[in-house]
Subunit: 287 residues, 2 copies
Amino acid sequence: MEALETRELRYFMAVAEELHFGRAAERLGMAQPPLSRAIQQLERRLGVRLLERNRRGVSLTGAGEVLLHEGRAALDAATAAARRTRRAGGADSPGGSRNRLVLAVKAAASHELLQKLLEAYAAEPDAAEIEVLPSGMCEQGEMLRDGRADVALMHAPFNTLAGFDSEELLTEGQIAILPARHPLAARKTLTLAEVGDVPDLPLARWSRHGAYPPGPGPEIHDQTQLAQLIALGRTVAVFPDSARAWLWAEHTAVPLTDAPPVVTYIAWPAHSRSLALAGLIRTATRL
Amino acid sequence: MEALETRELRYFMAVAEELHFGRAAERLGMAQPPLSRAIQQLERRLGVRLLERNRRGVSLTGAGEVLLHEGRAALDAATAAARRTRRAGGADSPGGSRNRLVLAVKAAASHELLQKLLEAYAAEPDAAEIEVLPSGMCEQGEMLRDGRADVALMHAPFNTLAGFDSEELLTEGQIAILPARHPLAARKTLTLAEVGDVPDLPLARWSRHGAYPPGPGPEIHDQTQLAQLIALGRTVAVFPDSARAWLWAEHTAVPLTDAPPVVTYIAWPAHSRSLALAGLIRTATRL
DNA sequence: TCCTGTCATACCCGGTAGGTATCACGGAGG
DNA sequence: CCTCCGTGATACCTACCGGGTATGACAGGA
């Protein structure tokens, strides 16, 4: 029952994702033959066939799929351990954990809440230093898992809280942000169906991991682009109430009656035991 | 940013737990000098001091404590990956995940619920084989984390659900189980304070990881022992309602008015994606 | 049929994990 | 005060194995 070195996991993940030994080896910065050998060794040690080598390429067996998922979690846990240990050691006063906390927040998210949280926590007597780490749209979970962050502000239903401990902080409705001169901007309320079905205002498509979902709308990757496109009368967007804070004069916000409420949570890895984190959570839930 | 091999983690965990290089090396089945060297290398690679070598022994730095916690999680994830992959490969039909599910249940827990669950699930059209793994009092969480189990029946407030996904199955009150001939057995209801404060019936102490909590009561490690001691008029126990199923003639159950309700959950690792598991959960929530 | 793309095999080399012997040093005891 | 344990660190050696290059086996497509 030997224990599956992380090197082997990295190798397998590369092959399982590329489904091609040559490309996987290139990605790993090594030659193909030792990679083949390493995977064979891994299969022998596990006593399990992980890859089906057919003519023209490679495919995963059932066991391979399991290892792909479980191995990702294990690798994340290992790199998280390394990162958090490094951080803890950086400015370490002996015995205590008086270190910095890294807080991941969605880049374009509620400033007021974050502001209030940071101010309230800084006023605490034993406050640690908080580093705010801007994250992409949905990657706060990854950041918690792989140790880039210690705690995050997450937003249901966009993020999934699976695997984390969390506390609810705030619930808000959603609004449609329209060009002020568009006919629909005169409405008092709208529905999701109405907003999604305006021929001259296709919904914008956000960049996710470098790719864009299919659809007619313009491709954007930050909020300023979006604001501009709305101001130009080219698109419409759906946001939580707190987005009113950054509206331009050319924008109009109309409440959506049937959009699911957006709930903001503070979330952290379930096994965390840090005092600084506990203090931050206590502060957050008291807001 | 190299990635912290599990071998290094195992070594560090051993030293951090023993706080003694010699004993740690013995536990690892190796000599002491290479272990010292490996730890030094680890500290160099992380750029962090993990252990404080004082005269007369070793102690953990703050960073060392962090690595002790995070490393435990990472090692568990790695062994879980190995175990689940092995299981998936055992009787693997290509492509599907038609494998066995391992269900961890507290040994002395509600039979009826488990029985109903297993029967209902077996009647499903695409049911996988379920292996029931009896676990100790509180270790279902560990079993899920290190891959010995895929899914577990857990009981709040005894188990902690932190880090798992779960669904609530059943809520029950608690009862005191007394010797039938004891004066208190005549009562219609009792309180926790009354039960905990009977001089001639001290509460039994369960074995936890081989050790016993301090107190006056008898030391026990299984439910039969407990049943016998109660029948003999030597102790009293507090159990969920469903424990009535195994009462003896010499026992009397009295409801407790102020005991917290016991909630049974079905819980599984948050990142699980198995079809078989999804089916089991669906069956369980329909009961 | 040959060529091309793919993964496996054969073989070699160097780094390093592990072993043994020994050192450095602090504490307890005579 | 000196000595002797017990501790972790150092020095040095060996052998394994992780990685490289060259090449083979084999299937498809022109």
